[in-house]
């Protein structure tokens, strides 16, 4: 139990620091690289929550695919190095809104506890998820493949250069 708390603290610290650096850094590429640390430590947290398969998916999809895709998006467009500040009034308004939002949710969740029950989530995690996907969740699973196909075709169509008439 104690080791779990220590691991949680380190991973949560890295995740929050990565996200804060994403907000603070000046160069766009550095922002994306800072967020990779957040994604990786979230994968570590998934392992702590006995979700090994979700952790592997997180590393592959988020810190692999999505980061590389965002880097491509940055490389293919031109960026000024300096990010100009927005208006001060808007910044203060959003900040106050976020404080109120976070506080109201904090009241709701700070005392939440359902008690810890003995779970068998970590036993054959990937196998159990596979069985669940192909029995209970078979229709959403198949629909997901349609969504991915539509997104693939749509992305190619949108990003294709329009031909000269």
């Amino acid at each position: 139990m104690n080791g779990e708390i220590i691991a949680f603290s380190i991973l949560a610290f890295v995740a929050i620091i990565g996200a804060l650096f994403m907000i603070q850094l000046r160069k766009v590429v550095h922002m994306v690289v800072a967020l990779v640390f957040t994604f990786l430590s979230l994968a570590g947290l998934y392992v702590l929550l006995s979700a090994e398969f979700a952790a592997a998916v997180q590393v592959l999809i988020y810190s692999g695919a999505i980061t590389i895709m965002m880097l491509f998006g940055i490389m293919l467009t031109r960026h000024g190095d300096e990010e100009k500040k927005g208006s001060r009034k808007k910044s203060v308004a959003i900040f106050l809104f976020l404080i109120a939002f976070a506080f109201s949710f904090y009241i709701g969740i700070s005392q939440l506890d359902f008690g810890q029950q003995e779970t068998t989530l970590h036993v054959d995690n990937t196998k159990e998820i596979g069985i669940l996907l192909y029995s209970h969740y078979i229709i959403p699973f198949e629909l997901t493949s349609v969504v991915l196909l539509v997104a693939l075709v749509g992305a190619i169509l949108l990003a294709k250069k329009e031909e000269e008439e």
Binding site: A19, V32, Q58, M70, S91, L121, I129
Partner: protein, 104 residues
Amino acid sequence: MTSSPLALYLMLALVLFCIGMYGALMKRNTVIVLISIELMLNAANLNFIAFSKYGPNPSLFGQVFSLFSITIAAAEAAVGLAILMAIYRQRKSVHIDDYDSLKH
């Protein structure tokens, strides 16, 4: 101060969600706005998985749901970047303030 593990995970997710929302609302660069939205989705996934272990009824359903959400997030990122490319070709800019042709 609380010590329940579920509350700790939920608070971490809340912090990440707030940082992501701040980035999505404040940043002028469209790529950073997209990736901030990914951070918000990630915080939601953390909630799903935390509840799947520490919730009132622990089961694998939360993990499976987070897998679906990751899939949809990946599709959303791909389409979002494709739209960004298409707009960039027209406007030669990645700043969100320059995308205002629907305003006039």
